[in-house]
Amino acid sequence: MSTTVVEDRFAVEKQRFLDLFEKHGAATGAVHPLQEYQQRAIRQAGALSFPTRRDEEWKYTSINRIVQQEYQLGEQVAVSADALSPFIPEGLDAHLIVFVNGVYQPQLSDEKTLPKGMSVLKLEDALDSDQFGTVARGELEKMLTEREDIFLSLNLAFSQHSLFFHTAKNTQAERPVYILHLAAPGGTPIYNSHLNIFVAEESSEFTVIEGQFQLPGTSGVYFNNLANRALVSPNAHVHHYCLQNEGEQGFVINNTDAAHDRDSTFNNYTIDLGGRIVRNNLNTVHLGSNLTTNYYGIYFGNGEQHIDNHTFLDHAVPHCQSNELYKGIVTDKARGVFNGKVLVRQDAQKTNAFQQSSSLVLSNKAQMDSKPQLEIFADDVRCSHGATIGQLDEDSVFYLRSRGMSDAAARAMLQFAFIGEVLGHFPNQAVSTFGAKMIAEKFGA
């Protein structure tokens, strides 16, 4: 990220965020460790500037629309337990944690029944505890120093309801944790920050599902600035799902930073269907050898949506492998962006890295920008990437039509088959089925 911008184009917009913090964050008197971090984060945000399209990382995505709004923090909105059912995958047996407008809803959540060895705490409690304090502080410290990203700084600065997950050594959590973010926007634009820190100790395993939806019957502008950090210890396995179907005036910036150690697995499964402007930054760094990173992504944009997936894999040690498969469709005036960077450092011999990004551009006004990027400094590696941008095969459409299907049905079937391939890689059957349902609904719309 470039910080040497001569003139800050978004100086006014940035000041609004600083003022918003002044209004809420700084008001409380007692100084908790979390607040110290938040103070540092807002100072850092003050020193950084919002990226413009002159920044290589933001070449295809303008944040202008996102930051121009005058945001307020989200307010508590009462939601009944029944209202949640459309957002919960059928047959999914999970520990549910619900946030509405970024505010934690204890009455809707049931994280009390977690198995032995697994803990989910509020971040401020984790910072206070003897057991997790050190590791939680370490993660926040890294968050502030590793990357210079103003959205990360703003995320931490406003992270009131952040969570800390921990699985102790050898803990296998069978039931996944489902974090449900519901947006209930109204008249004023809402800004939500949420941060999750996942720590998997040696030989533990857990699945976490993030769901991001807008409550039906509400409308308005909102901006979800989300961040996830995962620290995966040796031989631990973390499966992270992101199901995103925000409203048409929702903005999403989602930063996921994972670091994992030898023999471990980090899997990310992303479905992006909603939102006006969506930007996902998915970064993984390798700390030990013989580990596997998998990224699977699906996106479908219509209307005036803008969906930008930035992924980064840092192969820093030998004998690791990574697989990446992203498939997406853009139609109407939607714009899709895929930027997949794979860095193989000098010592990372015997790396196997595969990346494939395929997309369909279905209308004349839709646009797809793809930038697969390999940077390789080691010689004994096998790395490949493939990127395709195209349309449906007219012969296949004809074949289906000759079997009696309507043109629309035939195209929908082929489109579904195109992105449905990725769903096949989702190990959780309930989520995979739910994803298919979400996609089918979007095709129908």
């Binding site: 290589e56 193989v344 000098q346 011999q349 551009v361 279905l362 209308s363 004349n364 839709a366 646009q367 797809m368 920008d369 793809s370 930038k371 697969p372 990027q373 390999l374 940077e375 390789i376 400094f377 080691a378 010689d379 004994d380 590696v381 096998r382 790395c383 490949s384 990437h385 493939g386 990127a387 395709t388 941008i389 195209g390 349309q391």
Partner: protein, 481 residues
């Protein structure tokens, strides 16, 4: 492996094969760049006023630009004031035959392996030899003139065909296109001009050899090739430079214009001094090359074999304006020792039913860095555009780097864009197979690398393909390990 390490050492210790400098008297301007320099160059070349104005305008625009920093290369800043912008071998008299050419100059060409005398009879290649910015001798001109083909130095064309130059100069690469193109537009010294009239198929390969000779002279070549309706031409460019300690700048501009049904094939073998094994010296090769497929069914093919230069950044591009036009880019880029290359292409599809193909093969050895950077842009109105790209990288040794930065931008829903890239090293099994058949490790590697580059070499004219294979072998000698 120890054997190969020894040969590697031998190679890296070996001197640049083409490193010599000839003592030809040159007439040059003092160091430095200012408006006066631009005027002086223009005056020395006796240019018409409009061209002087054009240069000055480019210079004004240049002053407002800054050097780009985005390429994936690292080099000390170039001091543009510490450079000579014009160096021409002193004209003694007008030359009519080869006998009158400075014997030392002829010797230079002989060392380069382009015997001008023999070229006429043997190769059938017309050579427009450019040494330090001014064309000394243009061979075969008369023969080509019978067909109406104009093949001469740029400054000659300015004098004799000003209407053509005026119409086409800057039409493909505008003077303010980029930092180095603007610099070139302001101070370009000479270059080649080719004009193929309507319906003429150029009967021989046109060729020019560039050489940077005078110490501390920047070389600012400008090439313009215009192929009228239904014509075709194949143009070869070969480059070598003597060994010098300081880095020398080469900022050329090449413009190609292809009208309806015209075909231009532009091949480059670039073997400039890459610097020594510690990265000292060598040429900075910052070139802007662009072809405009202006007419329907026109075709431009870029083929390049890049083995030299300390720092290279060039992106031979095609603007596919005419319907059914075709752009092709075939490249082999080899970097060894501390060389850095950031090269690739841009294919801009504007017309309907346009097609482009990109085949890029990068080979990095030693401590070098080799980047492929390419843009495929399908415009809103480019119906049924089709692009196919392959960029492969081969790594030799664990201290080098290979990078790919492909950009695919699609704004039309009937486009098909396919891109694939792989990075690997030479397979142990392939090496083992060839060696157990009796090939030495070196030969086995050469065989594999040649096979790897075959798709590109096949696109080169015969004489060049042979030279390219030799160059590749020299460049990579002993870098197995």
């Amino acid at each position: 492996m120890s054997d190969s390490m020894q040969t590697l050492e031998q190679h890296t210790r070996s001197d640049y094969k083409y490193g010599f400098s000839s003592n030809i008297e040159t007439d040059k301007l003092p160091k430095g760049l200012n408006e006066g320099t631009v005027r002086a160059i223009s005056k020395k070349k006796n240019e018409p006023e409009w061209l002087t104005e054009w240069r000055l305008k480019a210079y004004e625009q240049f002053l407002e630009m800054t050097e780009p920093t985005w390429p994936n290369v690292d080099y000390p800043p170039v001091d543009l004031q510490d450079m000579v912008y014009y160096a021409a071998p002193k004209k003694k008299k007008k030359l009519n035959s080869l006998d009158e050419v400075d014997p030392e100059l002829l010797e230079t060409f002989n060392k380069l392996g382009i015997p001008l005398e023999e070229q006429k009879m043997l190769a059938g290649v017309a050579v427009d030899a450019v040494i330090d910015s001014v064309s000394v001798k243009t061979t075969y001109k008369e023969k080509l003139a019978e067909l109406g083909i104009i093949f001469c130095s740029f400054s000659e064309a300015v004098q004799e065909h000003p209407e053509l130059i005026k119409r086409y100069i800057g039409s493909v690469v505008p003077a303010n296109d980029n930092y180095y193109a603007a610099l070139n537009s302001a101070v370009f010294s000479d270059g080649s001009f080719v004009y193929i009239p309507k319906g003429v198929k150029c009967p021989m390969e046109l060729s020019t050899y560039f050489r940077i000779n005078e110490r501390d002279t920047g070389q600012f070549e400008r090439t313009l090739i215009v192929a009228e309706e239904g014509s075709s031409v194949s143009y070869l460019e070969g480059c070598t430079a003597p060994m010098r300690d300081e880095n020398q700048l080469h900022a050329a501009v090449v413009e190609l214009v292809a009208m309806d049904n015209a075909t231009i094939k532009y091949s480059t073998v670039q073997n400039w001094y890459p610097g020594d094994k510690d990265g000292k010296g060598g040429i900075y090769n910052f070139v802007t090359k662009r072809g405009l497929c202006k007419g329907v069914r026109s075709k431009i093919t870029w083929t390049q074999v890049e083995t030299g230069s300390a720092v290279t950044w060039k992106y031979p591009s095609c603007v596919l304006l005419g319907d059914y036009s075709v752009g092709e880019f075939y490249s082999v880029a080899v970097t060894n020792n501390k060389q850095q290359a950031d090269t690739g292409t841009k294919m801009t599809h504007i017309g309907k039913n346009t097609r482009s193909t990109i085949i890029s093969k990068g080979i990095s050895a030693g401590y070098s860095h080799n980047s492929y950077r390419g843009l495929v842009k399908i415009g809103k109105k480019a119906e049924n555009a089709h692009n196919f790209s392959v960029c492969d990288s081969l790594l030799m040794g664990d201290k080098c780097g290979a990078h790919t930065f492909p950009y695919l931008e699609v704004e039309n829903n009937s486009a098909k864009v396919e891109h694939e890239a792989t990075t690997s090293k030479i397979g142990e099994d392939q090496l083992f197979y060839l060696m157990q058949r009796g090939l030495s490790e070196e030969d086995a590697v050469n065989t594999i690398v040649n096979g790897y580059c075959k798709e590109v070499f096949n696109e080169l004219p015969m004489e060049f393909a042979v030279e390219a294979q030799k160059l590749l072998a020299i460049s990579l000698e002993g870098s197995v390990g």
